[in-house]
Amino acid sequence: MRARTRTLTTGVLAAALVAAGCSPTTDSGGGGDEKTKTQTGSVSYEAADNQGPAKAVDGAARGGTLTVMQNSDFEHLDPARNYVNVQQVTGGLIYRALNGYKEDGTGKLLLVGDLATNPGKDVNKDCKVWEFTLREGVKYEDGSPVTSKDVAYGIARSFASNLNEGPHYIQQWLYPGGAYNAKYQGPYDGGKAVPDGVETPDDRTIRFTFPEAHCDLPYAAALPTSAPVPAAKDTRANYDLRPFSSGPYKVKSYQRDVALELERNPNWDPATDPIRNAYPDAIRVTFGLEQAQIAERLVADAAADQAALSWTDVPPAVLPRTTTAGVVERVVKGPTQYTWVLDINTQRVTDLNVRKALNYAVDKDAALKAIGGQAAGSPATTLMSPTTSGWKKYDVFNAPVTGDKTKVTELLGGKRPKLVLAHSNTELRTQQAEAIRKNLTDMGFDIVMKPIESSSYYDEVGRKDNPYDLYLSGWGSDWPTGSTIIPPVYDGREIVAEGNNNLSYLNEPSVSAEVDRIRNLPAAEQDAGWMALDEKIMREYAPVVPCYYDATYELHGSKVGNAFLSDAFGIISLNGIYVKK
């Protein structure tokens, strides 16, 4: 999934000038005390993991209102259109998908059945036919039962062209070859009620039949497109504003750009839910606050904000204030599944030596310090993030983190390539681009900086014929295996005219062939396969400069209990969170 962008901070601090000049800033930890952890993600068929209710959290109490302070409103809450991590975590409180992630904050990430009794039965052991049985007693907010027909309807409507913003793995697998909705455009305007390959033999069973093997289906079924939508409640484009609840909370009010208020769904039965504890009585998400303002309020921890948290990263200017006692224990930080790379447009920079030189040249330390240093991430050498299962560290170039000038000079062979570096025009991204420009200029490149309006940044660089040579982009897996990183971002067959994810436009038949080979490996061997392909791409084609593994650095108030970083989403999880009395 595409990373949320680090936003521009325009907040003018209304605080007094304090005498911060009394104590020196010292270099603790030497820049690398962030440990990267590898996800121990696995699909669990154990009855104990798949049975509700969720394990109680020590010391947790029901009740209270939890506030989430956000910079900007969600784009979409409709399960068919929900593809951004903050929306997925919020949506997960309102509706339940077939599968879900069970986490306890120790780094153990289990994929278990959510609506389904287990993460999916591989009927013929060939990953082509998958069957899910829904739990008994799962009810909507009006007390009516959740049926498999509603799940099928939810998937059907995700094919509609005006609800196209969500993930389309299952959709593409049902109709392989060509665009996912070329043959079926959803149940509206006379379309079939369910897509080909989806059957609901009874109210509690849903079966998927794919033309090709897809052993990743349990993960794909954890995405919100498999959430149930009753046809009678479908308001099409307006469903965004009021999804019909099958989870622990229902929408009380939703005022765009102001606030979303959730209250308990009295018909949700904890005994049917192995994932959510749902301790708070109400959850309020407020929008429209500046990033710095959010961080300042959480640092100050005033009575009204003690039961609050934010999914917005603490901006660099506020970072030093989060290291004092009383604040530091309220920081939730850690690596996320996003890797940020400096894409090299391989259609323009065709000389492999220049691409290799760039890999030796980029000062990853400077690029990171410009946006908050180790709070923002740690230097990267691989394409996949350390949270991917099967990840192994490798470094093709073995350059120092600040670059290796002799190697660059040697590879460039006296040339001075002129490259255009495009960047999003937010303050932090501009600073970061300037850090890279200066560094590459010193290393022997001529760099032209081109700011792009931040809201259309990915649209601009996602055009196949974009006029730029270098640009930063972040990509995170949709589930912790390489199959949602390497194919969408490095397989040349996925390149289209606009809206590309393959931003280096690498189009190498050998990579595509390798992708196909790995996809057909037994599930157990795929992780190693993706990791090997990751290294092969860097070693042979160097289409990007891996810059840093993104890290998150969030704050919560002193009355928020059990706030931990979700490995599945890279932000604070809400499933087991509680408000301290």
Partner: protein
């Protein structure tokens, strides 16, 4: 602060009317000499003048200072930042090598960026002030002298320019302007960005001077010396620039000196909004914009550029005030 020029001027007036013991005899002085004498005796003018001269010298000699100081404005000292990008050491990294400390994040030297920032600011502000004053004087003098239809038409243009919201216009025009001349892969040279800013300021800034000059000319054009010149058959050019202009230099000079600081802050505002200069050009506006976020965590970053732009703008304003007093001591304040 606002009282001292009055006192100074009053004193100067008394002295220049011959009360001083050494000025008993009649000494012939040109108006220029009189102004200079009044200015010299005005302490505010003296101090603000010295500050201005120092800042202008620093701006002109920026490359030399950079060489002596041993640091270039785009140089980054990443190794002097801690792991989260904050400058190491006391007061935002102040040290013998970096007098005003380092910028958090990129680790650029604040002192040398400020010197170059003064250069950028003054270049744009003086350029814009010269252009706007020239346009304003020419249009104002024509409108005032000719009157009638010409006056009405120029008046309409002035009203239109005054009615247009400057910031909205600048936000819309500046990016389009560069796109018109440079492709998506071309670097936009600094001179072009600077020229664009001057043009944008000029498009809006001439109205004040034009109205001022028009008013002055209207009050002068029926005077005897104008009648006399007209009667002896002087041409339009001669009337405007030989007869009228020399009589209205005082308000023009004052308007000019007050325009400069307003363009300094204008450039800062535009860079603040992201339509000013490219990131690589050191600019006061951008520095201050970035530094505000660090008010609590790195006050030195806010303090040094803030105090310098404050001094620059205040010095220009005070000097402008003092100049007006010196040129026209009888005008009411």
């Amino acid at each position: 602060m606002s009282l001292s020029p009055v006192e100074g001027v009053a004193l100067a007036e008394i002295e220049s009317t011959g009360e001083g013991p050494e000025q008993k005899g009649l000494v012939g002085r040109s108006p220029g000499q009189l102004v200079w004498n009044r200015l010299r005796r005005d302490r505010t003018a003296l101090v603000s003048g010295i500050v201005l001269v120092l800042l202008i010298l620093a701006a002109v000699a920026a490359p030399l200072i950079s060489r002596l100081y041993g640091t270039s404005p785009s140089q980054q000292f990443g190794d002097l930042l801690d792991a989260t990008g904050m400058p190491l050491g006391y007061v935002g990294g102040v040290s013998g090598d970096h007098w005003f400390g380092l910028e958090p994040g990129l680790g650029r030297d604040i002192f040398i960026r400020m010197i170059y920032g003064i250069r950028t600011s003054l270049l744009i502000a003086l350029g814009a002030a010269v252009v706007t004053t020239t346009i304003g004087v020419v249009l104002g003098i024509i409108a005032g002298y000719l009157g009638g239809v010409v006056d009405a038409v120029i008046g309409w243009f002035t009203d239109v320019a005054l009615a247009m919201p400057f910031l909205v216009f600048a936000l819309a025009v500046v990016p389009t302007f560069s796109l018109r001349f440079y492709g998506p892969r071309d670097a936009i040279p600094t001179w072009f960005a600077v020229t664009t800013l001057i043009v944008v300021f000029a498009a809006f800034g001439w109205t004040g001077t034009a109205r001022l000059v028009r008013g002055q000319v209207v009050s002068l054009r029926e005077r005897e010396f104008v009648e006399a010149a007209r009667a002896s058959g002087a041409g339009l050019w001669h009337m405007l620039f030989r007869q009228l202009l020399p009589n209205i230099w005082a308000p023009i000079l004052v308007a000019f000196s007050l325009a400069v600081p307003s363009y300094v802050t204008g450039e800062a505002a535009l860079s603040f909004l992201g339509v000013g200069l490219p990131e690589s050009v050191p600019s006061f506006g951008r520095m201050i914009y970035r530094s505000i976020d660090y008010l609590q965590t790195d006050p030195a970053y806010v303090f040094f550029p803030g105090i310098t732009i404050f001094a620059l703008v205040l010095a220009f304003n005070l000097f402008g005030d003092a100049l007006r007093d010196a040129l026209d001591p009888k005008s009411s304040r």
